[in-house]
Every structure is written in C-alpha cells, then in structure tokens.
C-alpha cells in the first residue's frame, strides 16, 4: 500500500508539453511547486552531508539510522493521540523520529564498545530490531487508531505528493540549515575525515566534530522521511557523493557535485511524480540518482571505468611497443618481419587484436613504417627509442647486479617491469651511482 500519488494536480493522462514545462519551471500550482522546491533542497542537503558520511566510512550507519526512526514515529503518534493532540502533526512525529534514530546510533556504538561483535552485525541488529519495533507500533496504530494509520505508514515509502505547505517548509528549512552548517564546517569535517589522530593532536575536539557531523546526518534523514521514505532516504545520502567521486579529486568540487546530483535527482523525481500517475517520488528520486551513478561510474573522465581502463590499456600498449622496438634494436634488424612479431607475441602473451593495435599505434607515432617487402621497419625515431629502452634496461640490470646483489640470471624478470616506468631523474641517479662504482655504462644512443 504505497501512498497513492493522488492529489488534485496529478493527471491520469500523459502530460502535454505545456504541462511538462509548467511543472519543470515551478509554475504548476502552489503545492506541486513547493514540493519540487523542497525535494530539490533536500537533495542538495543530503548530497553535501553525504560526502562526509562517505569519507568517514559511515555510509551504512545512516541506513541503520533511518530504519531506527520508525519506532519513534509510531510512539510519538500513539503518545500524542493518547494525550489528545493531533498525532499526525509533522513536528511531533519528526521529534520522535530524531530521538529513536539517535538512540539507534547510540546502540550501535554501545554494541561495538561492549561486545565482540563487529560493525556489520551491530548495524544489522539495530536496523532490524528497531524497524521490527516500528512495525509492531504501526500495526498497533492500524488496529486501534485506524484514522491516523495512513499518515504514519507513509513514512516507510514516502508520500511527497501529500505533503502540506507547512511540511515542505519544515523540510526545506532543515535542509537549508544542514547545507549552511556543513559549508561552514567544511574545513573541520574534512580534517577529521582525513586524519582524526592528527586533528586530535592539533587540538581539535574530534568527538564534538564527529557528533556535529552525525547530527547533520540525522537532521537530513529526518527531514527526508516524509518525502522519500525511510527505506530510501539513505540512498539520497549515499549515492550522490559516490557518483560525484568518479568525476573529481577535489573536495570542494566533490561537495558541489554531490549537492548538484542530489538536488537534480530530487527535482527530477518530484517533477516526474507530479506529472505521471503511479510514480512514487521517493523511488523516482532514487532511480534518478542511480542513473547518474551508472553514467558516472562508466563514463566519468577522472575515475570512471572506461577512462581508467583506457589509461591502463595505453600504458600496456606503450610498454609492449617498447618491447618490440627493443627487440628489433637488439637484433640489429632494421626490418621487423611478421614472424618476429608473432613470435614475440607468443612469448609475451599478447593477443592478436592487442598486437595489431600496438603496431597501429607505433606506426601512427612514427616509430615504425611499412617496409618494401611486406614487413615493417624501424624509422629513425624508432631506432632511437629502441636504443634508449635497451639502454635503460641495461642500466637497471647493472644496478640490480652491482647494488642489490641479485643474481644476474634473475635480473631480467624484474627489469622488464621497471625499465618502462623509470623517470629521467631516476635514470640520471642510476648513471651517477653506477659511475661511482666504475661500472661500464652502456652507450648513450646517438641522437
């Protein structure tokens, strides 16, 4: 029984272009606009504070925290109703949620401190036991206060569409506070996340900063309960920072991007759920986060999978090319026959497509060219490069033999790995050391 997205502004037909544009530009009626703006703010807040949860390696602690809010909501409702107040008042329910959420986190810490159980078990225990208690409370409400049950149940899967303006204002307000405080404390949070021991020696109250960080996580979680639901609100804290991490290695950019991804997902989710029937906002928001995450993981230039594997492949191709040039140089064979390449491939374990790609790159780099008779020949640049690689190889080999006391017969293997990654600085250092020991240096290639 997911809260139906059935308010007046929701359509049963496919939306027209003008409806889409109206909704997207915040002109689709007061309520819808408020909800969209509110979820946008919530997304930004969750993305920003989620960065620190991720960097402090506490992502899943937030999952336990959000599940642990349910019994608080149920108890707050029952208590308020029994005392004759309106149990569905959002501030009351959120206070209950905060108290039991914090209690859940305290329980995790207590389990870690006083028992031999590990973090994963502690999180699982708190998550399931608290949520079970919440379910008990909900079923009690359902059977004894049937009137209020719908409002409270909505917290599990979220009910963005039925939020009242005052609810949205509360959510947006909390989100705004969270964003501002985490920007204000950016420096302190990053210090503690990176190196808490150093922070402590440097005189920072690490425990207080940690509590502030966790407090902001609690605030954002509680704020997001009604819009996104307590099972999925954790996604809004985890996914945007993880997705943003693929794009950048800068902290402030990471915070900015995570906020943007969270905000966009919140915006997009509530727009879709306002336009189309049967699209629960919480799920759409999380799925949009998921889409951004998948794109980031695959395509991001900084740390994405494609970019990383291309970089790795290029390095391997360069090393393989070096090997080929070196082999040609050592055989003093200006012409590389097809057989040579195939034989070398067999030794080195290069598959055929890799081999072709390597030859193509060498040709494009002007290191080899087509010879008259079917085969390939080294260009002048290729000869020089082959000589240089071959010399590095010899240098390193002599270093290992004369300095590291490695048996000459064992050297070749380690040399193969190293010779291609030697920096110029290191090569000069090698030459200097070998010269000190009066080891005969291989000839510098004529250039």
């Amino acid at each position: 029984m997911i809260a139906p997205a059935a308010i007046a502004e929701v359509h049963d037909h496919l939306p027209t272009i003008s409806e889409i544009i109206e909704t997207m530009t915040f002109r689709a009626g007061y309520n819808t606009t408020l909800v969209i703006a509110g979820t946008l703010l919530l997304g930004v807040a969750a993305g920003v504070i989620g960065v620190f949860a991720l960097l402090r390696k506490r992502s899943l602690m937030t999952d336990a925290l959000s599940h642990a809010t349910l019994p608080g909501i149920a108890i707050a409702f029952i208590a308020a109703s029994t005392l004759g107040y309106n149990g569905r008042s959002l501030p009351v329910l959120l206070v209950g949620a905060t108290v039991s959420g914090v209690l859940g986190v305290v329980c995790i810490q207590a389990i870690l401190r006083h028992t031999r159980l590990r973090e994963d078990a502690a999180i699982g225990i708190v998550l399931s036991v608290f949520f079970g208690a919440g379910v008990v409370g909900l079923s009690y409400i359902q059977r004894n206060h049937s009137a209020g049950a719908a409002g409270v149940n909505g917290f599990i899967y979220g009910q963005a569409a039925t939020m009242r303006p005052s609810d949205v204002a509360l959510m947006g307000g909390i989100a705004l506070i969270a964003i501002l405080s985490s920007l204000l404390l950016l420096k302190e949070f990053s210090l503690v996340c990176f190196n808490d021991a150093f922070a402590r020696v440097d005189g920072w109250p690490v425990t207080v900063i940690d509590l502030l960080m966790m407090g902001l996580v609690v605030l954002v979680t509680v704020a997001g309960l009604q819009a996104v639901g307590l099972i999925l609100v954790v996604a809004l804290l985890i996914i945007p920072p993880v997705a943003a991490r693929f794009w950048t290695n800068r902290l402030w950019l990471l915070v900015l991007l995570a906020g943007a991804i969270g905000g966009l997902s919140g915006y997009f989710g509530s727009v879709v759920s306002a336009l189309l029937p049967r699209q629960p906002a919480g799920a759409v928001i999380v799925l949009s986060c998921g889409v951004v995450f998948s794109i980031s993981m695959v395509a991001a230039p900084a740390r994405g999978v494609v970019a990383t594997s291309i970089r790795r492949l290029r390095l391997r191709l360069r090393i393989a090319g070096d090997h080929l040039l070196e082999a040609a140089h050592e055989e003093r064979a200006p012409v590389i026959s097809r057989e040579t390449i195939v034989a070398l491939s067999r030794v080195r374990g290069w598959p055929a497509p890799f081999r072709s790609l390597m030859v193509f790159l060498l040709r494009r780099g002007g290191l080899i060219a087509k010879a008259a008779n079917e085969g390939l020949r080294l260009t002048e640049a290729g000869v020089e490069r082959g000589a240089r690689v071959s010399r590095n190889h010899a240098l390193w080999e002599q270093y290992l033999v004369s300095y590291a006391d490695i048996a000459p017969s064992h050297v070749d293997w380690s040399v193969d790995q190293v010779e291609h990654v030697l920096s110029d600085e290191l090569i000069r250092d090698l030459e200097r050391r070998l010269a000190e020991r009066a080891v005969a240096l291989p000839q510098e290639p004529a250039s």
């Binding site: 991720l54 506490r58 992502s59 590990r118 379910v135 996604a235 985890i238 993880v242 799920a283």
Partner: protein, 434 residues
C-alpha cells in the same frame, strides 16, 4: 487468548521455520562480516520478484524463487563490480546497489498495481503471518494423519520446509569447508575449496531463504533472523559448532516468544494482536541485549563481577603483603597503620573480610597474620620480589623503578621461574612453603 490450531499453528510454524533457516545461514554471514549482505539481498530481491511475476504472471513458488535468486546474485555481483571497478568503499557500494534495486522494485510494484495485480510492497516488509490459516483443520489425531489434512497446508509452509531442509543439508555437508572459508578465505582457496564459490553459494541460499520467508514473515524478519540469533550465539560461545546450535535454539525461542508476545500482551490491555513478524524482531533484540548483559564469559555482568573479584583479591594480597613486611621489619602493626597503608580501598572491609577468611587475626588494636595468612602472604611477597628481580635483571630496568610494576604483576598467578635468594633491594625472597 487461547492457542487455536486453525489460526495459530501455521503462523507460528512459518515463523519458526523462517527463523531457523535464516538463523542457520546467518552464522556464516556474521563470521565473515557480511551481515549487511543479507540486508542488501533482502531489500533487492523485491524487483526480482516483481519482474518474475510480470513475466510469468504467476505467483508459483518456483517462478518467485528464480526471480529472487537472480536478483540476489545480481546484487552480490553488482556490489562486487562497484567495489572493484569503481573503487568504492564496500559499505557505500552495498548501499548504492540495494537502494537503487529496491527503488526499482517499489516503482515496478506501483506500476503493476495499475494492472490490478495483487502485489503489496508493505507485505514484503512485514509479511502476513496472520493470513496463514489452516482451513478444515483436523479435529482429531486420526484426521491429522489423513492425506486430506495435509492438502490444506498453505504452500508457504511447504516452501519453508523445503528451504530449511536444503540449507541444513548444505551446512552439514560443507561444514568443514564453510568453517575454514569463514576463518581464513585465502587458506581455504589454497586448500582447494574456492572461498569465492562458497561465498556465492551462501549468498544463493540467503536469497533463497529471503524469498521462501518473505510472503509469510516479510523481509524485516529475514534481516533480523540473519543477524540477531547468530550474533547472540557468538556472545555465548567461542566455537562454531556450539554457536550454530545456540543460534538455532535462539531462533526458535525468538519466533515462539515473539509470536506469543504479539498475541498475548495486547490482549491484557484489551487490544487486538500486533504484527507478529515485527514482534519477533523485537524479541530477537531483547534476547541479544540479555546476552550482552548476562553471557557467561563475554557478558557485562560477568566481566564486572570478575573485575570486582580481582580487585578484592588485589586488596587482600596487598594487606597480607603489608603485614608480612611489617613482620619482617619487626612485628605486628596497629590497625590504624594497616588502614593507612591500604588507603583508598575501604581498608576496614578488607581487613574484616580477611579476618573472616582466617588469614589475619585481630586482637584488639593489633592485626597479625595467622598461619594460613602467613603462607599466602609469603607467596605474594615471593612473586613480588621475583618480578622485581626479573625486571631489573632481565628487562634491565632501574631498581628504584620496578616496585610499582611488580605491584601490578604480583597478583598474577604466574611468576618468573628463576629463584635467587634476594631481590634487587637486598631483601630475601621467601621460599615456597607449600
């Protein structure tokens, strides 16, 4: 509130069966620090169930099982991919995968509901134990043994029985491999039991247990039962065999207790029964807290008690040693002096207790050692001086530094084996007189 075979037997049985299945498998998750993988899987089987249902348009257990197993395996693989390819921290990787899959499931259910399909997202969370009614329940023993009685047993029960049997067989057959893989995966792999394969097998069974349990007890109880009984058992024992037995007992107790509480306690207040699955999860938490407090070796109380016992032994040892040194120096000492020497550790009580134990003799204002007290005191002083000797001789510490350290060490049962005649300060080391 009376137990009724028709309306209570199967809900209870389903709870127990689910608890046993999950409790059994949970042992390996907790040991391998993979508890949250159970959490992730039980969230993310949701889209698997819905998709399988939408494709096959049937709720037959086999179809559901296949859907859930595929989704469960997909979760494990996706988490692994995000972790290794994307270099994402394990917890966050898990969070990303299961929340996206769960959101997908929620959306699909909502879409399916448009086509008047009977799938219910809340049910997935807290199950519908109460709906497992035994129609035409047998009213006599003869009827119970007839074929007809079994024809009406709900299919959820059969699914759970099947899953429990399969899991038990899996654990029994592969017990030694599972134990090794949980303790030392690298070693297991070098021994020829591929730890990764075992890991995936466990995850497959967890996915199976989730789907077998979900429409009876809901995924929340699955998570609770995967983690809590095993964690509780881990506090009670240090060995895997007994731990599994304990976890099964605790799982059964949790299910029965939770069910009873759900139906009985509200009745006291004239209210309707509350959700049984949730109540079982809470019971699991209560049992765990009890274990945290009362466990024989690792529990809080037993640790406090042992610390107290140690403290009182330390105080007594100190009293005896003080008296022994006083005798060495010239004679028995006044109670006031002994109190001052034991400052800060309620000396009157220490002295009174030592008197009751027959270690000291209180004669008016003077405290002296009895024969038994002298024997014990000389042992304490002997250990103290042996440690001093060791710390100075072997560890090379300065003689004027070692008294405080030896003061700590003298209360241990062990003492350095070397036996010179005197300590670094030139005082005699008492001989063993026992």
């Amino acid at each position: 509130m009376k137990f009724s075979v028709a309306s209570d037997l199967f809900p209870l049985l389903a709870g127990v069966l689910a608890a046993l299945t999950c409790g059994l498998l949970g042992n390996f998750l907790v040991l391998r620090r993979q508890s949250l993988m159970g959490d992730a899987i039980s969230h993310s089987v949701l889209p698997g169930l819905v998709i399988a249902f939408l494709i096959a348009s049937t709720r037959s257990p086999l179809v559901m099982f296949i859907g859930a197993a595929v989704a469960g395996m997909a979760t494990v693989i996706l988490v692994e991919l995000v972790k290794t390819l994307g270099r994402v921290e394990p917890g966050a990787a898990m969070g990303v995968v299961f929340s996206v899959l769960f959101a997908l499931g929620v959306l699909l259910i909502e879409q399916a509901a448009a086509r008047h399909v009977d799938l219910d997202a809340e049910c997935v969370l807290h199950g519908q134990l109460e709906s497992l009614v035994w129609y035409d329940a047998p009213d006599s023993i003869d009827a119970l043994l007839s074929f007809k009685a079994f024809a009406n047993v709900p299919r959820q029960i059969w699914t759970l029985v099947g899953m429990l049997t399969a899991s038990a067989a899996f654990v029994l057959l592969l017990f030694k491999e599972l134990r090794l893989a949980a303790f030392d995966p690298a070693m297991a792999t070098t021994q020829g039991f591929n730890a990764t394969v075992l890991h995936y097998l466990i995850m497959l069974f967890v996915a199976g247990a989730t789907v077998a349990s979900f429409d009876a007890v809901g995924s929340i109880l699955v998570i609770a039962m995967l983690v809590c009984p095993a964690a509780t058992a881990r506090l009670l024992t240090d060995r895997l065999g007994p731990q599994i037995v304990w976890s099964l007992l605790i799982a059964t107790g949790t299910a029965v207790g939770g069910y009873a509480v759900a139906s009985i306690v509200p009745a006291w207040f004239g209210r309707d029964a509350v959700n049984a699955a949730g109540s079982m999860a809470v019971t699991a938490g209560v049992l765990l807290s009890a274990a945290v407090v009362f466990a024989p070796r690792h529990g809080l109380i037993s640790r406090v008690v042992r610390r107290r016992l140690l403290a009182s032994k330390v105080a007594r040892d100190d009293l005896l040693a003080t008296l022994y040194r006083a005798v060495e120096a010239g004679g028995p000492i006044a109670i006031g002096q002994a109190r001052r020497l034991l400052a800060g550790r309620s000396p009157s009580r220490v002295i009174a207790r030592a008197g009751r134990l027959g270690l000291v003799h209180i004669d008016g204002d003077v405290v002296s050692l009895t024969a038994a007290g002298r024997a014990e005191a000389s042992e304490v002083v002997r250990r103290h001086r042996l440690w001093e000797h060791y710390l100075v001789g072997e560890a090379g510490l300065a003689p004027d530094h070692v008294h405080a350290t030896a003061e700590q060490l003298e209360h241990l049962d062990a003492a350095p084996p070397i036996g010179p005649a005197s300590d670094p300060h030139g005082r005699p080391i008492p001989a063993r007189d026992r």
